[in-house]
Point group: D2
Chain length 104, copies 4
């Protein structure tokens, strides 16, 4: 992932896009790209793998830029959130059902 | 990232959630979490770093589940997309401006 | 609004699109169009009025189809929600600030 | 709809929220509420009608505020968009299928 990270930063610097990549603008961008991914499932569950993988990559790219703009370590924030999710969703309450923790 | 990937899969298996994690449902989930991230910027650019990092982690977690459900390698799809973006956004046309490539 | 409603239903019937317009698919469609609207503000607050009004119309069109698919009266659901919002956001607590009611 | 419109404006004025309701912030708000609507369909097509109608109302309320902030007439922009959609999606090409016009 370090290689990808370095390439993404170089891409950003070369285009002088750092100034656009504020946390707020990146949050909008992630939502926009997430919806482009969703568009491939707008009318059902069938999809074209290449199209979907491109849109998924776009979401990930903006997520990485966002982590960078906030000086966050991706691995760390995922592990932290997983710990919280494990408490919110204990195995005995959530096994086999998708109920939101607020509804337990 | 392999460690995170393994933990996420274990979390999913323990809760028997694989059946909910279809590509379509994950695409919806990514959009939903992206909007929760955006909510922290709903009225402006100020934010609470911990809240934002949790929501960003949620987006990333669903992206990883999606890549897994489609049997995609995250590093590979990002590198592929970056190559396409480099062609869409050549440095001379995009330096210092955020114009969409369709408007060049 | 009755005229618009009738036109939208005729548009739908002529194209035999009722079968695609399930509540779930329309919920996805509203999110997708909302993101296309947001895209016009991706990098800042400036916008092209015509583009923005087209995207806003798309969101509204899918909202009307959704109300129809659920047999809901738009006027009624808005009035109901406004009553709830008035309780959630009493004037004395919310005047001049955008704090979410869960944070009062 | 005029009655609703007046009530919404009064609600906004009483709380001094006009200053938050910029087109950009409203575009974010529409996406955020659209995702809350989508959340009710995150894991499938079943839904609670009351919950869904509340979220749909929230999307509509922000759409009305957005039209107001841009000085747009909702009826007019919907009719204009429907004309464009009728050209993009001629009956003979789109009858019974949900193919996007860019794929015709």
């Amino acid at each position: 992932m370090d290689e990808i990270f370095d390439k993404l930063i170089r891409f950003q610097v070369e285009r002088d896009w750092k100034k656009f990549h504020t946390p707020e603008n990146l949050a909008k961008s992630i939502s926009i790209e997430a919806a482009e991914l969703l568009e491939h499932f707008q009318w059902g569950k069938d999809y074209n793998l290449e199209d979907v993988s491109e849109e998924l990559a776009d979401v990930l790219i903006y997520c990485i830029y966002m982590a960078n703009s906030l000086d966050l370590d991706i691995k760390e924030i995922i592990l932290d959130k997983m710990e919280k999710n494990a408490i919110k969703y204990p195995v005995d309450k959530s096994k086999g059902n998708a109920t939101k923790y607020t509804e337990f």
